[in-house]
Symmetry: C2
Subunit: 292 residues, 2 copies
């Protein structure tokens, strides 16, 4: 299988599984619609595909990662819905469409994000392919990577430092959590599902740190030099929000250099494992070469 087939086939299977699950949530139809609106708004599914590519790299059955991949994308989608709220980044557009709260109102946007956070764990608990120990390990890692010491904590230190002069180290700390921790889960979950040991997982955590930083630098660059039609939201939103970014701290040239360095470190580390990492590498390339 080449990367394009892998990517297309499993994207379809991920979406089919997620949407089937979401359609089963029949209690509050307006909530289901609001969740589906954001979930199907054209995300690239980078994180779940990276999870599946990691399973593939260890020659394990990729289907074992579908529910965990959906759970991961649920958490990611929740963070987008909540980040766009007026009390947070106050964004009207996301991926070329009105943001969730602009269409469904703030109350439903808050509750949609809440439901995605919680029901993600249901998906893992109901997985048919994994052992109870694997599931518990996935639940634990997903909670830690998403929670107060992970993505959500990163969002908090980001929000509370808006309009403040922060340095490069602190910016990297924000990114390592806000963006990096879900990428860490992608790789670590793949390793858990493929029954890898702590030593391998420790290398994968380093990989995710570097590709996570590269991911965020690319985001910051796109905010300045990207094309609104392609990105699907207003450019220069960071400047509007008075946010310190890699670009505002380093300038475009040094950002490009730093992007290449962290990308290269992630590639060196993943290759040091001597696994079948070609699909992981393709996704890393996508991360730094994307135009949206």
């Amino acid at each position: 299988m080449d990367f394009n087939s892998f990517s297309q086939n499993y994207r379809e299977l991920l979406d089919k599984t997620s949407i089937h699950f979401l359609n089963s949530l029949q209690l509050a139809n307006a909530l289901k619609e609001a969740i589906l609106y954001s979930y199907t708004a054209g995300g690239k599914r980078i994180r779940p595909l990276l999870l599946l590519a990691t399973i593939y790299a260890f020659n394990e059955d990729v289907v074992k990662g579908i529910n965990s991949g959906c759970a991961l994308e649920f958490i990611h989608t929740s963070s987008l819905i909540h980040d766009d709220l007026p009390a947070m980044d106050d964004d009207d557009y996301r991926r070329g469409k009105l943001t969730n709260h602009k269409v469904f109102g703030e109350a439903s946007a808050i509750l949609s994000g809440d439901a995605l956070l919680v029901n993600a764990f249901q998906l893992i608990s109901e997985d048919k392919y994994l052992t109870p120990n694997q599931k518990i390990s996935l639940v634990k890692n997903l909670a830690i990577c998403s929670g107060a010491n992970g993505m959500i904590g990163g969002q908090q230190i980001d929000v509370e430092n808006e309009n403040k002069q922060i340095d490069l180290d602190f910016l990297m700390k924000i990114n390592a959590h806000k963006t990096g921790k879900l990428i860490e889960f992608s790789l670590v979950a793949g390793a858990i599902i493929a029954n890898q040991n702590e030593q391998v997982i420790s290398v994968l955590k380093k990989v995710s740190f570097h590709i996570g930083i590269a991911f965020q630098i690319k985001d910051d660059l796109l905010d300045v030099i990207g094309n609104k039609e392609i990105i699907g939201k207003l450019t220069n939103s960071d400047e509007k929000n008075h946010k310190i970014t890699y670009v505002s701290l380093l300038g475009i040239d040094k950002c490009n250099k730093k992007l290449t360095e962290h990308y290269q470190k992630s590639m060196d580390l993943i290759r040091s494992l001597n696994i079948n990492s070609s699909f992981i590498e393709e996704i890393f390339k996508l991360i730094i070469e994307r135009d949206n």
Copy 2:
């Protein structure tokens, strides 16, 4: 052990465990403070105590329920923080103190609730007393009871029907989810931890339906006839928010009658199991006799 000792000892152990866990969340101190503020704002811990009382009723070691009880109280606390937000019920006071967003701002209040939802599942995954199968069963049930088909879905249909004329059946549907589902988890989790079968769990779900309705009728009565100093928030807030309640639909006398009926049904059902249910019964009494 009498009920007062049980209640006091395990309340202390629950809080010690929760607060120790919350203090370990060092990434974003403002987030930790905001969470601790609401978590320690004087909740009665009815749900986790009911979970522990259920374990006790089946003669199983109560300590096995501490982490699950804390997880349950995390989810409950999250729902209070998010329900009080301006986009939801827009409340300034809760339990006699300013609400979370009034003290820490909306962004931190949203993120505090998010973190509590997610980190709840970490607490279950890290439990030292339970088998992996028990933990997975608890994760699954907590996610379902809290999520889009449970508490959060109930909150959605509540919010979207504000200012609308709903009937008694629909009001009971809202309550059975918004209030009832976490009470259901209290009883079901206790049964899972005590290795009870589906037949017992099915009776406990019926019990939780009735005591959940009784709980909500009592809340609605307190909103009208309660003492602000004791309740800790403004009375008549339901009327202010144009909410249909049991009181507005039935009047006070019929409410008291209905409260007694549902309480009695829950007592009859729990006694039908022939278990050591005295502490469960004490908590049910507390639910309908409380003055706040």
